[in-house]
């Protein structure tokens, strides 16, 4: 009993330390340069995306290769309704829920026709869905109606939407930054704290969901669909729920992305993004929240770290000349790391301790 209390105490201290570290991180990163703060923010967005995809792939076992589409729906909802594009400037407390809701709706739209499909068939259809959304974003700058010649510019096509409003509440604009107690916090650093709040909400949400009745039903579905059905689980409804909840998280992070970036274009939502998010989930440890977070942090941060390690200066020192373009070297190391981690840890870096 005493050891249990001691254990809990240790856990509490560890959590507190982690909390303090997370709070101080952007300030230290700020000393290194705002680019590092941006990397932190993007990493948090990826953590949210990976958590959302984890619900679909890791918990419910539905292979989704088009997840970035929901991220795009969230981002474009924000971008179109809070910029000079349509001259609309809705506040964030309308936009974030709306983006998440529309993304969830898109999730249901994707989920409904593919309910019958097995594993890899599902993968290719979701991949197609992601591509369809991207191509529509690319081409909806000249939408015509069959009965008239007029065309409408909905997404501004490949040029993307610029001048997007940031988050602001009670007249305070987060993008502008803030000075408290003599400490100058930039807009990016403030976004970090906003994102951190949403990430923590996502972690708790996904955790609660995974350990709910619905979460157990998803796990049953993942392990054996026919057996799950035989146990009285309505597989159709819980599959749709998985797509909707996954998409919800994606839409939420999409809105946050648009707010921070101030610019969205179809280029940010390609297949490679979906693949990267999937890689985060699998590399970290499918269905295990700490593992997924680790995977997301690792894959989001690794390319940036390699960028600084494997730059031209380093090659000059080692080889006396630049042998390989830094960009290529970065991708080479990145892909090799991906292959090696999977070869040596096929279940992921931090897999779920539950026995299969």
């Amino acid at each position: 009993m005493t050891t249990l209390v001691a254990d809990n105490k240790k856990k509490l201290i560890a959590m507190l330390l982690l909390g303090v570290a997370l709070l101080l991180l952007p300030i230290f990163a700020g000393f290194l340069g705002q680019a590092w703060v941006r990397i932190l923010n993007i990493t948090l967005l990826y953590v949210m995306l990976a958590l959302g995809l984890n619900v679909v792939v890791g918990v419910a076992g539905l292979l989704d290769l088009g997840y970035v589409a929901f991220y795009a729906v969230g981002a474009y909802t924000w971008a179109m309704l809070a910029s000079s594009h349509f001259n609309m400037h809705l506040p964030f407390w309308v936009l974030l829920p709306l983006g998440a809701f529309l993304a969830a709706l898109a999730g249901l739209m994707l989920g409904a026709p593919v309910l019958k499909l097995r594993g890899d068939y599902l993968a290719i259809v979701t991949l197609g869905f992601g591509e369809i959304v991207r191509i529509l974003m690319n081409n909806f700058d000249k939408v015509g109606l069959p009965w008239s010649d007029a065309t409408y510019n909905i997404t501004n096509g490949p040029r993307g939407i610029t001048g997007i409003d940031g988050i602001s509440f009670f007249g305070f604009n987060v993008s502008k930054g803030l000075e408290i107690f003599g400490l100058q916090l930039s807009g990016l650093q403030l976004y970090y704290y906003v994102f951190l709040v949403f990430t923590i909400i996502s972690v708790i949400g996904v955790w609660r969901l995974q350990h709910s009745r619905l979460g157990r039903a998803w796990q049953a579905l993942r392990e054996d669909e026919i057996a799950a059905k035989a146990m009285g689980i309505n597989t159709r409804n819980i599959k749709l729920a998985a797509f909707a909840f996954g998409a919800l998280t994606g839409g939420l992070s999409g809105g946050l992305f648009a707010a921070m970036q101030g610019f969205v274009s179809p280029e940010s939502f390609g297949l490679l993004e979906s693949v990267m998010i999937l890689a985060m989930v699998v590399l970290g440890g499918m269905g295990h929240i700490p593992g997924v977070i680790l995977g997301a942090v690792l894959l989001a941060a690794m390319p940036e770290v390699i960028r600084y390690v494997a730059d031209e200066n380093m090659q000059h020192k080692v080889f006396g000349t630049v042998l390989i373009a830094p960009e290529v070297l970065r991708n080479l190391i990145f892909s090799l790391a991906m292959i090696l981690i999977m070869l040596f840890k096929p279940a992921g870096l931090w897999p779920s301790p539950e026995k299969k």
Binding site: V114, K116, Y121, G128, E225, A325, V328, S335, I339
Partner: protein, 301 residues
Amino acid sequence: MSIDVLLQQIVNGLVVGSVYALVALGYTMVYGILQLINFAHGEVVMIGALTALVLAKWLLGAGVPPMIALLLAILIAMAVCAAVGVLVERIAYRPLRNAPRLAPLITAIGVSIFLQQIAILVFGRNYFSFPELISKTPIEIGHITINMNEIVILITSVALMAGLLWLVHNTKIGTAMRATAENQKVAGLMGIDINKIIAITFAIGSALGAIAGVMVASNYGQAHYYMGFMLGLKAFTAAVMGGIGNLWGAMVGGLILGLVENVGLIFVRGDYKDIFAFVVLVAVLIFRPQGLIGERVAERA
């Protein structure tokens, strides 16, 4: 819409579709045996195209007649691709044969990125123009135009597909391949060297991919390090549409995808061409979840 336009688009569709079919065969053969989406296959096709291109240019420069240059270049590209395919299987897939299902998918994605970077290192980022080794002067048949290059593509792919079907159904290796696809363990007990058969499967699929790569490059007159991505995606779509794991499915799926894309161009703007392919895929899978001619695979109980 005139009937000529339709016929012309059907011809174009068959040419593109036969290339899709060849690439799709590579996906479907691997999937049939390993239940693995070989994401790196598109990159193998790209490597085949670029290798053949560089070789053909070099041989032409050395004064070798075009036809011989083309044949030599293709043969060497096939060998290179087969080697790459076998090597990838050996290093990235074989150790994970009993691992969780998604692990080899992630290594496949890693290999795909890796091969692209290697291609940049070896060939560079440029768009290469593919030399016109077979005449591309348009030939008029009725109101339809076609060129020698396209005719050669059609005939070659039909011959290759027939050859593959013969190999799989009428030879000892083919029987072993089918047995391995059916049940690896039992096939092993029957004295089949599974590792060898899987390696052979990768070699054949990759060699076919090399030829397909040369076809695409010669048809569009160019090749670049990124060409494998979209081609691979389309071919994989074709394989799934036909019923993945099924050779006939890949061929039919490839041809149908090519036809749908090109005939669809009559009705929708070119920008939406790629959407069209995916919409048809979804429509097909809603009504036939196992693909057009895929078998209903018994689900594990």
